[in-house]
Amino acid sequence: MGTSHCAAYPELACGCSVHTTIEANSLGTRIIEVVYNASNNELVRTKTLVKNCIVLVDSLPFRQWYEAHYATPMGRKKGAKLNRCAGPVYPDGKPFLQIKTMFFKKALRAGVQTGLRLQSSNAAASTKATPKTSLGFSFELTDQQKEFQELARRFAREEIVPVAPAYDKSGEYPFPVIKRAWELGLMNSHIGEDYGGMGLSIFDACLITEELAYGCTGVQTAIEANSLGQMPVIIAGNEAQKKNYLGRMTEEPLMCAYCVTEPGAGSDVAGLKTRAVKTGDEYVVNGQKMWITNGGKANWYFLLARTNPDPKCPTSKAFTGFIVDADTPGIQVGRKELNMGQRCSDTRGITFEDVRIPKENVLIGEGAGFKIAMGAFDKTRPPVAAGATGLAQRALDEATNYALERKTFGKVIAEHQAVSFLLAEMALKVELARMAYQRSAWEVDNGRRNTYFASIAKAFAGDIANQVASDAVQVFGGNGFNSDYPVEKLMRDAKIYQIYEGTSQIQRLIIAREHLGKYKK
């Protein structure tokens, strides 16, 4: 598929070839010719927000050239045109980037699926990892994914499960467990290799998250909040910001937080009142944030504040995203909130009083904040759905084991149809939730806009986690209500999955919008 341009372009490693890939989003389908190094399966991805396409380049030097001349992850460079044969050319005059029409869509879609992005992590993926793709769709994990899952599973069962009840009772922040997870590489999985991370795909991260959540969702939420806080920097940060704020996360076990919600604005992000006023080379921020996970433990925050006071200014231009060091003067961390569940997770209100943020800490530029904040969700909703699924799986396992031991009316309760039907429905829900989050993760890893699937996964997983946990308590009967048994904690922990990261109601709004959008002429 494609011709080799190695000779024409000395920086490319040998064995590369030009491929075509497509990207489908709500705006349509585009086909771009790209360069891919098949010999070591290493791809360096850049994503141009403007076209929302994937351009695959095969080595870092080439990527740097591409970004210098053509487009950065945040958009095309001024003057560069993504037109037919009008783009950059190789030294020998051959055009590099061409846009073809949608003519070869079907054939190329198959090519993309089988060839390019089935390996789910950037680092040297196993060459025998390509699943049997003659059917085009696969539920098979690669060997590496299985090993990751096995590691996370062992860790959760051996190191999280035994200590979770104690942390739940005391509410103490589970730093020893988090530190251990950090040492094993189970945290900060989205950070790229350039900044000391492993650049795992969202799918791989979801596999790990589900296993950790099985152990305790309080611990897992504290870990996940890191990913949420980092995501705006990963998708929108410049080189200096990434090196500074992502680099430090891989050098020490630090925490960060996503600081958007306010006492008066949760779902209604556009109703944020925190103000950031430009004064010289700084922004002065005043306002109050609430329900910030890791609020009291974070080393830095991603902050969303309103920079344009004009109420008529559209949402897409009124907000700015900032990176704020937690020790900046003027930041007041509130008390640790006592919540219904996930009690070891640190949730606080944060007050900003004349906090000064240097303009270097603005992500992209003034007014770009809303899109960044929302863009992060497409990548963090699948892991949250995975977390809810992990909780549901735990509830199912506990209930099933109990049902096979407890005897009433002369037999184990699992043999009473009322209980076995309950367990069957719990199993049904868990399996479907798993498939939903896997699909949404797979979609975004393949370069497609996954908002529809991410919302479906999060809404469904959050809802069933609550149902399954409640049913598990029911299976345990009187014992289920008691804190000596593990299921009452699961029921308390599950509730938040219908609330944070976009309430179940907001998810339905999004799904309806995406769904109807497909039908509109």
């Binding site: 992590s121 040297a124 993926a125 590496q144 590691l151 062992r154 860790f155 094993l184 189970l186 999985s189």
Partner: protein, 254 residues
């Protein structure tokens, strides 16, 4: 002391799985059952990796005998820190009769081929519970052996081994080259970290056939029958000590 350590690992049914006997009583059910590295082999790998980290040895080579699936076990050891692996290919039908004698012949041949200075094995496998491979390997090579090791210290050309024996602990000093077998309290095996799992993909696993090592796999043992242990019978409660003594006498126990 520098040089190469050979570590043998075995892929066994996971310790947490409930074992079931096959209906024809020829063995236990292994199809579709979760397998993992023998816990004592994990301890052996950990000890070797620790020695390498302390720069007491140069290379850790992990060996496993069996069909294709044992490669996963070798990969796990590589992810824990071993440098390279050797997969001794044994066909599935031969694997059933592969016992400690055959494995120790293979280990001895490999030790000579790789010029290893130490062989570390688990004290026994949790499926066979033979507790023979280490001792036989040492005998075939005419090397010293330090078995049931709960503490190992390398001192120049010798090894100080603290052994767990029935009466307590025994400390011995043996010359290298030596075979050590790991007991439970030797160390706590590490988790492979995520980055190490990814790095392990790049490490080499060589394939070797027993015939290349000059080893004959025929076994002189034949398994006649495998049965489950007898079901636990309900006990009997007695009121006084005399009743107890009386009952025991009846049963012919005293």
């Amino acid at each position: 002391m520098s040089g190469r350590v050979l570590v043998g690992v075995k892929r066994v049914i996971d310790y947490a799985v409930k074992i079931r006997v096959k209906p024809d009583h020829s063995g236990v059910v292994t199809e579709g059952v979760k397998h993992s590295m023998n816990p004592f082999c994990e301890i052996a790998v950990e000890e070797a990796v620790k020695m390498k980290e302390k720069k007491l040895i140069k290379e850790v080579v992990v060996v496993s005998c069996g069909p294709q699936q044992v490669q996963e076990t070798i990969r796990t050891a590589l992810a824990m820190g071993a440098d390279r692996g050797i997969h001794v290919e044994v066909l599935a039908k031969d694997y059933e009769s592969l016992g400690p004698l055959q494995v120790s012949k293979i280990m001895a041949a490999l030790a000579k081929k790789e010029e290893a200075q130490l062989i570390i094995l688990g004290k026994q496998a949790i499926d066979g519970d033979c507790n023979q491979t280490g001792q036989m390997t040492a005998a075939l090579l005419d090397w010293s052996q330090g078995t049931f090791a709960s503490e190992v210290t390398l001192e120049g050309g010798q090894v100080k081994v603290v052994r767990e024996i029935d009466g307590g602990l025994e400390t011995i000093k043996i010359n290298t080259p030596a075979v050590l077998t790991a007991d439970l309290r030797l160390n706590t095996p590490r988790y492979a970290t995520l980055p190490n799992i990814m790095k392990a993909k790049k490490k080499k696993i060589a394939n070797v056939k027993p015939v290349d090592l000059g080893v004959e796999l025929t076994s002189k043992l034949e398994v006649l029958r495998v049965d489950e242990p007898p079901q636990r019978q309900a006990g009997v409660k007695v009121e006084t000590v005399d009743d107890l003594v009386g009952k025991l006498k009846e049963a012919g126990r005293i």
